[in-house]
């Protein structure tokens, strides 16, 4: 038995053990035991992933009672990369959950579902054929639906969120199933090896590509299939949202990479354009919605859509450039998608866990009622700040490294000789730049409003830091954000092995080199240089400041000092107001102005009431009519089913007669 096989077995055994512990243990011990089990499961996944990445081979065949082929697990290096991401995120979230869970999220079913969810997610990238892939995928989808439903008794909106999630996730399953079915029919086999022999130029391959990409994009939260994300993430407990956002949506990205790198490596140019279009629209739309969101977890959910959009953009650029023979930048773009995956996993885990701490302490997700948490929750504030830096793609974080590599590949990919590429690449660069700018504003808002200034409500004023396990998990994930940013060489090595292409290597000690486009980045050296420049400036400033009388800063982000009422401070809504004005046509906020006049006078105003509501345009314009249509069809279909036994018997009678007539013809 090879090491990878041992790792796979360990995951299965640990998942089983965790589920049994969750069901059997006393409630007082359950969180600790099941949490440790789930964390061990995550670590086992990450270790197996590392083994697969470093060239470990292994093949686990599990026969089923069903009349289908046995489940075959045999992770490739690419799958190994995603196993590492899923396992690491799962382990951190499980440790966090030990301190975080309370009420329904501490129940036996919730812990059992978490272990099942982690197992399913870690086995998706290990699958070696379509049937095993779909089984693991469904395990992941079903368990995560149970987790989204956790608080269905306390909050009514959770039910509707879980319904949306269940429908969308099964739509995704259906599309992937159809896509694999088309490929399996063309390739005469359900194993990925058989599927990769299909003719890439045939129409059925293109159909399979479209179906698979739509399915994976639905899971990844790509616009316009993103509607479940901003519902499911606020509904789920925070450690679950962290895993869903940082690891589960990445399985959609893994699926797309599986298609374009392993199953159908000889892609057509328009495939790249489709992926690019999905990516561009999602990136801009996601970050726009995030920038005006006031619910912290909704904001993070939309930011996930943006980041997944960037990943699709990178993959699309890779496919497009490769089909035009621009090899270097194409390889860099494909590798960059994985850099984005790793960095997003790190900072989104930090941010969701931080949001969980805020929720744990205040019971609030509404930014407009938070504030001043920095003093009361220093660990959460510091780690959330690091995560926000990462999400805003600022230097010394991994977000910066990934977006830098993406921009490098896009800029160097522009070739004037191919008209299409010459037009598409600059547009993509502009989109990335726009999203980077908006992301900066979004996370300045998220951090500044929640953690600085004075509390805007009584809940924020009495906040306190959570238990030690929560803080440990937060610190670990924040260290990962900075660590991957300072020594991106680790990611570079992993990415090169996972993608199996050149274009990226380790520069210097642990920097990131992009020989494909002739660029390099060594964050440690740059940080050293920056410190060398900054230290004299700091020293001089400090000396000058000492000479002058000190200016006490009473309140950072207080907007000019202590106001009469905390409600007069900047809020998330007011901070985003200019943005929502500029992007009025894209966001379409619903504004309602009501003026009550004093008596008969037209000039004296007694009261002005202003309401503004931001809804998801895609949802209102596309999904609401679609749901209404389905509703109408459903109601019409109900007339067939009126519960009368005679009617049902008559249906079978008529069917029998019809069959008899058809047979005799």
């Amino acid at each position: 038995m090879t090491q990878v096989e041992v790792g796979l077995w360990a995951q299965l055994v640990l998942a089983l053990a965790t589920v049994s512990v969750a069901v059997l243990a006393r409630p007082a011990l359950r969180a600790r035991l099941a949490g440790v089990g789930a964390a061990a499961l995550g670590v086992a996944g990450a270790v197996t992933g590392v083994l697969a990445l470093t060239g470990g081979q292994g093949r686990l065949v599990i026969p089923l009672a069903l009349p289908v082929d046995p489940v075959v697990l045999s992770p490739t290096p690419l799958g190994g990369f995603f196993m590492v991401v899923a396992g690491a995120v799962g382990a951190v979230a499980a440790v966090y959950a030990i301190g975080y869970v309370h009420g329904p999220s501490a129940s036996a079913s919730s812990w059992a579902a978490l272990a099942t969810f982690l197992l399913g997610m870690q086995l998706v990238p290990a699958a070696a054929d379509a049937v095993s892939f779909l089984l693991a995928w469904e395990l992941m989808a079903a368990a995560s639906t149970v987790l989204v439903l956790t608080e269905h008794r306390e909050r009514l909106e959770v039910r509707s969120a879980a319904l949306w999630y269940a429908v969308m996730t099964h739509l995704s399953f259906l599309l992937i199933l159809l896509g694999f079915a088309v490929l399996a029919a063309a390739g005469h086999g359900t194993s990925f090896a058989a599927m990769s022999h299909v003719d890439p130029a045939s129409a059925s391959t293109s159909l399979a590509f479209v179906l698979l990409v739509l399915g994976f994009a639905t899971k990844a939260g790509i616009v316009p299939m993103h509607v479940w994300l901003p519902r499911a993430h606020p509904a789920a407990p925070s450690h679950v949202s962290a895993v869903m956002s940082a690891a589960m949506v990445k399985m959609g990205v893994y699926g797309v990479l599986l298609v374009v790198l392993q199953l159908l490596p000889a892609g057509r140019p328009w495939w790249g354009l489709v992926l690019l279009a999905f990516g561009t629209v999602s990136a801009v739309y996601g970050i726009l919605q995030a920038s005006v969101a006031t619910d912290l977890k909704r904001l993070l959910a939309y930011s996930t859509t943006e980041n997944v959009g960037l990943m699709f953009l990178a993959i699309g650029a890779g496919v497009l450039l490769r089909s035009y023979g621009v090899v270097g930048p194409a390889e860099v773009a494909a590798g960059t998608a994985l850099l984005l995956v790793a960095s997003h996993a790190a900072f989104k885990t930090t941010l969701f866990l931080g949001a969980g701490s805020v929720l744990h302490a205040t019971g609030l997700r509404d930014l407009d009622r938070l504030g001043g948490l920095g003093k009361r929750m220093p660990t959460t504030a510091a780690t959330f700040g690091v995560g926000a830096l990462g999400a805003a793609a600022l230097p010394i974080t991994c977000g910066f490294v990934a977006e830098w590599a993406l921009l490098q590949s896009l800029i160097h990919g522009a070739r004037p000789e191919d008209r299409l590429v010459a037009v598409v690449m600059p547009v993509a660069v502009a989109v990335v730049a726009l999203t980077a700018g908006l992301a900066l504003m979004t996370f300045v808002k998220a951090y500044g409003i929640a953690f600085l200034a004075r509390p805007r409500g009584p809940e924020a004023g009495t906040a306190h830091e959570g238990p030690a396990t929560m803080r440990v998990a937060l610190v670990v994930s924040a260290v990962a954000v900075v660590g991957l940013g300072l020594v991106p060489g680790i990611m570079a090595t992993a990415v090169v092995r996972a993608v199996g292409l050149g274009g990226i290597d380790v520069f210097g000690v642990a920097g990131l080199g992009l020989p494909g486009v002739g660029a390099a980045l060594d964050p440690v050296a740059l940080t050293g240089l920056a410190l060398l420049v900054a230290i004299p400036v700091l020293v001089v400033t400090w000396r000058m400041a000492r000479r002058r009388p000190s200016r006490p800063v009473d309140l950072a982000w207080g907007g000019g000092g202590v106001r009469v009422s905390p409600r007069m401070q900047y809020t998330a809504t007011s901070y985003a107001e200019p943005l929502s004005r500029v992007f009025d046509d894209a966001l379409r906020p619903e504004r309602d102005l009501e003026i009550t006049h004093a008596g008969e006078s037209r000039y004296l105003v007694e009261r002005v009431q202003f309401r503004q509501q931001l809804e998801d345009v895609v949802e209102v314009r596309a999904y609401v009519p679609a749901v209404r249509l389905v509703d109408r069809v459903g109601l019409a279909a109900r007339r067939l089913q009126n519960g009368s036994i005679h009617r049902y018997l008559a249906y079978s009678f008529v069917a029998l007669i019809a069959v008899l007539i058809v047979v005799s013809l």
């Binding site: 519960g643 036994i645 029998l656 007669i657 007539i661 005799s664």
Partner: protein, 219 residues
């Protein structure tokens, strides 16, 4: 047995099967329907016995005895007990009127003759010629199931459907192996016994066996 006698006996039994089927649809009184079903069961048993004697198969004669006991006596007696004594409440009110039912029967018989052409081609002689009757019985049984309100009528429809299937099986293939026939008969007996208990409970709860009233239980 001479071929002529055999042909006449088979035709006679098939004719009785068809006639009882039509009469079951025509009559409304539940006790009369159950009696007709008993006659049908006896006809089926005689048919099986005739086929068995003609082919010199003692096994088939044993099956005929089994059919006679089960379909000619046990099941009608059980059903008669459920139906209770004759009275004003023991009359079926079908969902479509008798005339329409009889017209439908004619159409179904025609259909049965049309669609059983390939079946008739499979065999030859008097048994093959009677195959459409078995198929027609299946369709009659289904019609009774779909258009009758009373629980007893539903059971009768189900049993007639089974009679039709059995008739087709005996006419085409000389019956199924004894073990299968035993199993199927036992199944049938159990179904009727369970439904007897069930209808007893329904009557105790609701005072009636009209299935339309039961649909109110939904929601």
């Amino acid at each position: 047995m001479t071929p002529v006698l055999f042909a006449e006996l088979v035709a006679f039994c098939a004719g009785v099967l068809l006639l009882t089927g039509v009469l079951i649809v025509w009559r409304r009184e539940l006790r009369a329907i159950v009696r007709l079903l008993a006659v049908q069961g006896v006809a089926l048993a005689v048919l099986v016995a005739v086929i068995g004697i003609d082919a010199h198969l003692p096994e088939l004669v044993a099956v005929a005895l089994l059919v006679l006991v089960l379909k000619g006596f046990v099941l009608p007696v059980v059903l008669g007990r459920v139906a209770g004594p004759a009275g004003p409440g023991r009359v079926e009110t079908p969902m479509i009127n008798t005339t329409a039912s009889l017209i439908l029967l004619a159409l179904l018989t025609t259909l049965a003759y049309l669609v059983s052409q390939p079946l008739k081609a499979a065999g030859s002689g008097p048994t093959a010629a009677a195959v459409p009757i078995g198929l027609a019985l299946v369709l009659f049984g289904f019609l009774v199931l779909a258009t009758r309100r009373h629980a007893i009528s539903q059971l009768v429809g189900f049993l007639m459907l089974d009679n039709g299937i059995a008739a087709v099986a005996f006419l085409i293939a000389g019956g199924v192996p004894l073990v299968v026939e035993l199993g199927a008969s036992l199944d049938l007996l159990l179904v009727v016994l369970v439904l007897q208990v069930l209808t007893g409970r329904i009557r105790a709860e609701f005072g009636d066996l009209d299935l339309d009233d039961l649909s109110e239980l939904r929601d």
